[in-house]
Amino acid sequence: MSDVTFPVGIDVHEQFANADQQRHAAQLGMWIWLVTELLLFAGLFMVALVLHIMHPGSVRAAVLHFKFWIGAANTAVLICSSFTMSGAIMLSRMGWQRWMVRCMLATAALGSLFLLLKGYEYYLDYAEHMMPFVGQPYALEGDPASRLFTNLYFVTTALHGAHLTTGVAILLWMAWQAHRPGFLQARQNRIEVYGLYWHFIDLIWIIVFPLLYVVGR
């Protein structure tokens, strides 16, 4: 049962004239959504850049406390997940539904690994007194400007983490839907569109990691 291909296609909704139009609309809709996601994060990147300019010394002090190697490992994890996601998309186009589900589960597992590592990193930050907003004494007490960057790090990574958590949840839900035959016949489009989202969350992290952990060290 696992090595079979299914016909690939989509069910056309009534407001569309044909499948092509619907496919096109869905793809465009996702791209536009990603544009808004980019600008959402751009506000945070802007703040990071301004802090880099205004307080280079303080930013450096804060950056040296961040867990560089966990951040780097997490970037690698996400790049791997992007690869498995590409695999899922390719398999979906060929109609290998079972293998596609396996690739999706692998992607979700890598996403979860990222979140686990992130959680561990937060724990280490907490232990090192790098979480000033929870009311504990702050490790770099004499340097208030470094607090800004530390706080920005938490806001940015938390927002990215929220996107990734949503992503994993949607992925698991779609994998559950796709465990029955017929998914690719009616909804192949969804995996393509979802793939864009996953790659883009990856892309956001690719910007976040150097901006918060590397530049200005």
Binding site: P56, G57, S58, R60, G142, D143, P144, A145
Partner: protein, 349 residues
């Protein structure tokens, strides 16, 4: 408008050459505006009447487009207005470059009052006295939220920001009493944050200064604070063993530990007193304690006024050795910034 103006005056009083020029600018711009819009108003009205449905008039037209006409009414008004951009920009840059000989008045905006201090140390609340014929530079800062010092008679305003000095200058050319406002919304009593600017002849002004009873000039007051807060313990004259010298520091570039330089201006000096650990300076370990929340804003202004003085007048080398033995961090603050907790969100009823 000002207290003694006629109740239906339609043009504000002006008290400086620059204000008069602003009036000319806006009048000239209004004339251009009228030239551009009156044809539209007339056109819309005439067309609406003449080409009313049912009127027997010649409506012959074709679909041909005159591209030059369309480009013309796009670009000609734009080009004409650019003249006013240039005029306004030149005046703006004048307002940003105070003359070197300007009399410097320190202003602090706080909820909800203005505090002014003259160079001789005379302090005023909300009201300000200045002489005619002399450029007046107001160096200002906010103690809490953003305010804006607005003097309509001079046609000028600049916002006061917390944590950073901003400046405006003007030169009054006639005596009179004019209004001062805060024009950036700053909370409950925003509209009570206004006062009067009294412009006096130089003779009246020196008379007023003589009777305002100041004990010490800004710099002298700053000098005693410099000792009182224990700054002399490390920053002794031109001695650079324990800390960088402050003699002749003002206005010079300072090298930072993280690379790059920064100019030692008012905001830099104030920032260094408040947060010494922030952007450390090359060559010295960071040992100075923070005075954040310890020195109130007006005392900071006096300290900066003292450090700003050229070294010869300041005679740093003649300063006494520390007057206070206790470490500065436990000096009792004379008035800590009244700050509300950021967590003080009231609960909904």
């Amino acid at each position: 408008m000002n207290p003694n103006d006629h109740p239906i005056a339609l043009w504000p009083a002006s008290a400086s050459a620059s204000a008069v020029e602003t009036d000319w600018l806006i009048l000239a711009f209004t004339v251009l505006t009228l030239l551009l819009v009156v044809p539209i108003f007339i056109g819309v009205t005439i067309f609406a009447i003449r080409y009313r449905d049912g009127n027997k008039v010649n409506r012959q037209h074709s679909d041909r487009r005159d591209r030059m006409l369309e480009l013309g009414w796009m670009l000609i008004p734009f080009t004409l207005t650019l003249f006013f951009f240039a005029w306004g920009a030149r005046m703006f840059m004048d307002h940003k470059n105070p003359p070197a000989n300007a009399t410097r008045i320190e202003a602090i905006g706080k909820q909800w009052m203005w505090k002014f201090q003259h160079p001789g140390g005379e302090a005023e609340i909300n009201d300000l006295h200045v002489p005619t014929g002399e450029p007046i530079l107001i160096n200002m800062i906010s103690q809490d939220v953003i305010h804006s010092l607005y003097i309509p008679a001079m046609r000028i305003q600049v916002e006061t920001l917390p944590g950073r000095y901003t400046q405006l200058w003007f030169q009054a050319d006639r005596p009179g009493t004019f209004r001062i406002y805060c024009s950036e919304f700053c909370g409950t009593d925003h509209s009570a944050m206004d006062g009067l600017l009294t412009v006096m002849t130089p003779a009246d002004y020196s008379d007023w200064l003589a009777h305002s009873g100041s004990s010490a000039s800004m710099a002298e007051a700053g000098k005693s604070l410099f000792s009182a807060y224990g700054c002399t313990g490390c920053h002794r004259g031109t001695d650079t063993d324990r800390a960088p010298t402050l003699a002749g520091l003002y206005g010079r570039p300072v090298r930072l530990a993280g690379g790059g330089t920064v100019a030692a201006d008012d905001s830099f000096l104030r920032d260094k007193i408040q947060n010494p650990g922030h952007n450390p300076i090359a060559g010295y370990p960071q040992v100075m304690p923070s005075f954040n929340g310890i020195i109130p804003e007006d005392e900071l202004t006096r300290l900066v006024a003292y450090i700003r003085q050229p070294p010869t007048t300041r005679k740093l080398s003649a300063l006494p050795t520390p007057l206070i033995e206790a470490p500065p961090s436990i000096v009792a603050p004379s008035s800590v910034l009244a700050q509300r907790s950021p967590l003080a969100e009231p609960s909904l009823p």
